[in-house]
């Protein structure tokens, strides 16, 4: 297989292979945080940053440490630890040096450790055998794709709360899931444009 151009991978991860809408990853925070545009934006920005960094970092850890030592089976534990440690580190740095940023974004950081999209991106990176640059592009693209999805949904939900009268039982998670389905359907329109696995 020819190596995929990192730029292609970046756009594919945003549009055709959107990690939320085609791989269903990161749905838990997606459902709980998409009520308001502001929190959706904060969460999205935090995810973009953490996902790009940890995917690249885990790529180094996997190929430079785990593979030479023959410890591939332990990669799940190692990845989780790397992600948790990284998030903790970022949280402390931001709190120390950028207090204003901390108050707008920092509260979302601890939630990210349990965001399955972050861990999922690292796993896909191993399964698809990306190199370092590809991993970085893939991580950044997936993060941006996730952010795009959560912001679109939160905008729709804000409008919906003001204008629509929903039938009993449909409000809350049910309508969000159905809107997400429609959004996924819309994103399918991109699917012919770039083909990456």
């Amino acid at each position: 297989m020819d190596p995929i151009n990192p730029l292609t991978l970046f756009f594919a991860a945003i549009f055709t292979n959107n990690i939320l809408l085609t791989n269903f990853l990161g749905l838990c925070p997606f459902l709980s945080m998409s009520g308001q545009k502001k929190s959706a934006f904060g969460m999205g920005a935090a995810v973009v940053f953490v996902m790009a960094s940890t995917t690249a970092l885990n790529n180094l850890v996997h190929y430079k440490i785990l593979v030479p030592l023959g410890l591939e089976h332990f990669r799940y534990i190692v990845f989780i630890v790397v992600i948790a440690a990284f998030v903790q580190l970022v949280e402390m740095t931001v709190e120390r040096f950028f207090p204003s940023l901390y108050f707008s974004l920092g509260i979302f950081l601890p939630l990210i450790t349990v965001n399955c999209a972050i861990f999922g991106a690292s796993l896909f990176m191993v399964i698809r055998k990306y190199d370092f640059v590809q991993s970085l592009a893939y991580g950044a693209g997936s993060g941006i794709g996730w952010m795009l999805a959560i912001i679109s949904i939160s905008a729709i939900r804000e409008k919906l709360q003001k204008t629509a009268k929903l039938p009993r039982g449909l409000e809350g998670p049910a309508i969000t899931l159905i809107i997400t389905g429609l959004l996924a359907l819309a994103f399918l329109a991109f699917s012919g444009m770039i083909r990456v696995q």
């Binding site: 349990v114 896909f124 039982g169």
Partner: protein
């Protein structure tokens, strides 16, 4: 959660009353990803039931010696160890399904249900009750997965467990095996359930 509940009540709470997927809308990432084929769903369920029960049991056994500050890390490591066991087992005995499930077996680690049960229940309760709680929750989760697969596979492929069940002229609803179909199916299931049994208390999401 105080203790007076009997084991039977704990079990049914997880299975139906507080069903993790339909009531709490947790852990739905893998719910949607693996439900396009019934076989995948069943394997995934087995893995999940094993992981939830065993990690609830372990967390509960260690609950007196785990320092509170690092409990999340300890729980994650316990869960990850069991998931690695599951992953290796599936790879060894069911290589085709392992291929199809891809990273989703590993993603059991970040499934919010397991962490949620460890954090909300196993941490304060004796091992036997935690095990039952894990069993109820994971069976409840599995039932929903099976129900969704039961809708998606016949409509999308015209088959169930690989056997053709739809009549010959049936046009496959390709959308059902792709992402949007999964969102619609789960959304409608949550809606129907909430319509008939409105949730009391605070609204999630």
């Amino acid at each position: 959660m105080p203790n007076p509940a009997t084991k039977k009540e704990i079990f049914f709470t997880g299975l139906w009353k507080d069903n993790p997927v339909l009531r709490q809308v947790l852990g739905i990432c893998s719910t949607l990803a693996v439900t396009n084929l019934m076989v995948n769903t069943l394997v995934m369920d087995a893995g999940l039931i094993f992981t939830v029960c065993m990690s609830s049991l372990t967390v509960s056994l260690l609950r007196k010696v785990t320092p509170v500050r690092i409990r999340m890390m300890v729980q994650t490591l316990i869960i990850a160890s069991y998931v690695i066991i599951v992953d290796i087992m599936i790879k060894a005995y069911l290589p085709d399904i392992s291929e199809a499930l891809g990273p989703y077996v590993a993603l059991i680690i970040t499934n919010c249900i397991i962490m949620g049960r460890c954090e909300a229940f196993a941490r304060h309760n004796p091992p036997a009750a935690s095990f039952i709680d894990g069993l109820g929750m994971s069976l409840g989760y599995s039932l929903v997965l099976i129900a969704i697969a039961f809708i998606r596979e016949p409509l999308g492929f015209g088959t169930l467990l690989g056997l053709r069940i739809m009549p010959g002229g049936f046009v496959h609803w390709t959308v059902m095996i792709m992402a949007p179909g999964a969102f619609f199916t789960l959304g409608i299931m949550v809606w129907i359930l909430k319509y008939f049994r409105p949730q009391t208390g605070e609204e999630k999401g």
